[in-house]
């Protein structure tokens, strides 16, 4: 195939610049991620597990434009908005200020028709990140939080894989930046402030009637935040619900794990699998209350076999803390039908 033909082809190329530095999101050297040009850092309440990588998140809303919202607390981003997410590993996870290795940066750009995903891979010398539509793989080693050496064949998703998670009703969308995920404090220049309040003050987000009444997802990583049920549901929501919800790619399974789902059988309680194949692990139901060891859900999140594991993408390692949380959650459910 002619490369020239490739390049006239894809609509993403109307939006993708060759290097991350070309966008002017960060002061040079860009590896330090010091935001400029109205780029704001943010975080979300309960993050997706991505093989123990750390993440930096930023948003850029075009000047004089604002994010609007509705009664259902959905956000509507103006055309030209960028969501910027960099994945990195600390050489030693116990030293948060220590050396780090940047792996990839994913951009989501709101265009007039839809969101487009644009993946970049960082060069080994960390001077810039380069457009990588077909994704890639990187060997990464680090010292884990328990002091033990770890390594992973880290996978940078290709453009299609971006969409395979970031899709609802066939339209590409952001996953993390929801009001309930953003409704937490962030430290801006040593001053802690609610992110939504800050965005309103910065003029990128329409104001709220009553900010204090807005919902907030608990942080599943914090055992003091919310109940066990709330933490487990927050973990399932961010790690699974992008596919496992109505309109999501895994709706064919009838298993819905989004925070809003209330029906126990849709959440998997005594629900037989549909197309799990060997993913069932010879277990009969997604969740058997009181018995994580008999629950397919537990089996699949604890697996690293590509044909079994959940989520299907962007995970090579087991999220031990998450698995433990889900085990405790299932164990705490009253037994019996």
């Amino acid at each position: 195939m002619m490369i020239s033909k490739i390049f006239s082809a894809h609509p993403v190329l109307d939006h993708a610049l060759p290097n991350l530095s070309d966008y002017g999101f960060f002061a040079k050297p860009i590896k330090n991620h010091v935001p400029i040009n109205e780029v704001l850092p943010y975080k979300i309440a309960s993050p997706l597990f991505s093989d123990y990588s750390e993440k930096l998140r930023f948003i850029q809303v075009p000047v004089n434009e604002t994010i609007t919202h509705n009664e259902e607390n959905e956000l509507f981003f103006p055309v030209g908005t960028f969501l910027i997410k960099t994945f990195y590993y600390l050489n030693d996870a116990r030293e948060s200020k220590g050396e780090r290795r940047l792996i990839e940066t994913r951009l989501l750009k709101k265009t007039s028709s839809e969101w487009v995903a644009i993946p970049y891979i960082w060069k080994e010398d960390q001077t810039d990140a380069v457009l990588a539509l077909a994704g890639g793989r990187k060997n990464v080693s680090w010292i884990h939080s328990d002091g033990k050496p770890m390594n992973v064949l880290y996978s940078v998703p290709n453009m299609n894989q971006c969409k395979s998670c970031h899709v609802k009703d066939n339209v590409q969308q952001p996953i993390g930046p929801k009001i309930r995920n953003l409704n937490i404090d962030f430290v801006y220049n040593q001053v802690s402030e609610n992110q939504l309040q800050k965005w309103v003050k910065e003029g990128i987000l329409d104001s709220f009637k009553d900010l204090s009444s807005l919902p907030r997802t608990v942080n599943y990583e914090d055992p003091h935040d919310g109940t066990l049920d709330q933490r487990a549901r927050a973990w399932l929501d961010i790690n699974c619900a992008h596919c496992h919800q109505r309109g999501g790619p895994a709706e064919t399974s009838g298993l819905y794990l989004n925070l809003e789902e209330k029906d126990p059988s849709k959440l998997g309680v005594f629900k037989p699998p549909v197309a799990a194949g060997r993913g069932s692990g010879n277990r009969n139901y997604n969740i058997v209350p009181g018995r994580p060891e008999d629950s397919i859900l537990e089996y699949r999140i604890a697996s690293t076999d590509p044909g079994v594991m959940m989520p299907e993408l962007n995970r090579k390692l087991v999220h031990h803390e998450g698995v433990k949380l889900i085990q405790e959650w299932i164990k705490a459910m009253p037994e019996g039908k």
């Binding site: 195939m1 490369i3 020239s4 490739i6 390049f7 082809a9 894809h10 190329l13 993708a16 060759p18 891979i121 380069v130 457009l131 990588a132 539509l133 077909a134 994704g135 890639g136 793989r137 990187k138 060997n139 064949l153 996978s155 290709n158 453009m159 299609n160 894989q161 969409k163 395979s164 899709v167 066939n170 790619p249 709706e251 064919t252 009838g254 059988s265 005594f270 629900k271 037989p272 699998p273 549909v274 197309a275 799990a276 194949g277 060997r278 993913g279 069932s280 692990g281 010879n282 277990r283 009969n284 139901y285 397919i296 590509p306 044909g307 594991m309 299907e312 993408l313 090579k316 039908k337």
Partner: protein, 406 residues
């Protein structure tokens, strides 16, 4: 500028085999009208290959055994090939083997043709094989022809939650289910050779799915032979409930016509027509209809050597006790849809099970509605074997007409 960067990326990422990255890039950048040619040879692929949001693209290999995509060393992704959210896609002349999960999954595709495509797990039937070979789900206008599906741990050819489907001139063996049509509407399954599976052709409606009430399925001119393979589905999967030795199984669905098939030497049930109750699974899905209705089985040829049914399954054991080695060919669970049972206790012909002009077909009504509590107890049950109760005809179902580009 951009070009040189792209080229340098492709050639610099050593962990990404060149064939794989090149093909993945073509799949990402394909334009309407493109044909992506796959050269001859066997290529080792490490991650799911995916195509998304494309219109009018052909992926063409050099032959069903000429281009082989081998996933035996796959490290990521739950499918071999994944096609999502597309229109008018044709896959032809290649083979996908040893995928870690499903071999070829297509979701939200309107117009998907599989032609001379093979999916296979080389080690033969094993519970560790992927669930499905050819796997279109939530698709419309599906054509599967001249394909081969081998050793899937669920169904070799599986069409689920889809509309307007033709599966023809294909072969399925060593799978748990050879061909399965599930929660789908308007399907023609004909001219296939389905042998050596646990169950040959299944037409199921299952609960708790977003798309339900499948109907209008025709199964004709197939050879369904020797589907006596021990069920090797991992536990928990509904297909694990299919008794070894099932030719055709119609479960919890309606408007199915089965005709002119040759159904040979399936040791437990040449053709079974059953409600969801047979699975002994409960469901809380209030919109789900667990009964069969409007099933018309005619002009089929049944042949069966004397052999004992499977003893790994309650029904097999029950049949064994009652019939030993001469098992009836057509087995009905006797559970009519209560919505269609009149005040006189009868079901109108249009909603019944009708049997006509089948050659050498013996009949059994398990009469679960009377024997529900004791049906699994061979000594307490009271069965009817007179097929006169099914002596009726129905209107033929309409032919499926697809809208396809190529």
């Amino acid at each position: 500028m951009i070009r040189s960067i792209l080229i340098s990326f492709v050639f610099s990422t050593i962990l990404f085999a060149e064939f794989e990255s090149d093909l993945q890039l073509k799949l990402i950048l394909a334009e309407p009208g493109d044909t992506i040619h796959l050269e001859s040879g066997m290529f080792s692929i490490l991650g799911t290959l995916s195509m998304e949001g494309k219109n009018n693209v052909v992926i063409k290999g050099s032959g069903i055994n000429g281009t082989i995509l081998d996933f035996s060393t796959q490290v990521e992704g739950a499918q071999g090939l994944s096609i999502t959210n597309c229109k008018n896609i044709t896959l032809e002349d290649f083979s996908v083997q040893d995928a870690k999960g499903d071999a070829i999954k297509c979701q939200y595709v309107n117009g998907i043709t599989f032609r001379r495509v093979k999916t296979q797990w080389l080690g033969g039937p094993k519970p560790t094989n992927g669930a499905y070979g050819l796997y279109p789900v939530q698709c419309k206008n599906v054509l599967i022809e001249h394909c081969i599906a081998i050793a899937a741990s669920d169904a070799g050819i599986y069409v689920g939650q889809s509309e307007d489907i033709i599966v023809r001139y294909s072969e399925a063996f060593d799978n748990v289910a050879g061909i399965e049509i599930e929660n789908s509407t308007r399907a023609d399954v004909y001219g296939n050779n389905v042998h050596g599976n646990t169950g040959g052709i299944l037409v199921f409606d299952l609960p708790d799915l977003p798309v339900k009430e499948g109907r209008l399925v025709r199964i004709f001119d197939n050879i369904i032979k020797n589907n006596n393979l021990d069920n090797f589905a991992p536990e928990g999967n509904i297909v694990g409930k299919v008794p070894a030795g099932t030719g055709i199984m119609i479960m919890a669905t309606e408007m199915v016509e089965v005709f002119q098939n040759t159904i040979i030497d399936n040791k437990t049930a040449g053709t079974a027509i059953v409600s969801y109750f047979i699975t002994e699974e409960e469901t809380k899905d209030t919109e789900y209809n667990p009964y069969t209705s409007s099933i018309y089985i005619h002009d089929n040829i049944y042949r069966r050597s004397t052999m004992i049914p499977t003893l790994d399954h309650d029904i097999g054991i029950l049949l064994f006790f009652h019939f030993f080695r001469d098992i009836p060919d057509i087995i009905y669970d006797g559970m009519p849809d209560p919505r269609y049972v009149g005040l006189n206790g009868l079901v109108p012909d249009t909603r019944r099970l009708c049997l006509r002009d089948n050659v050498d077909a013996s009949y059994l009504n398990l009469d679960l509605s009377k024997n529900f509590e004791s049906w699994y107890s061979p000594f307490l049950s009271d069965f009817n074997t007179d097929d006169n109760e099914c002596n009726c005809t129905q209107e033929p179902l309409p032919e499926v007409v697809l809208t396809l580009e190529h």
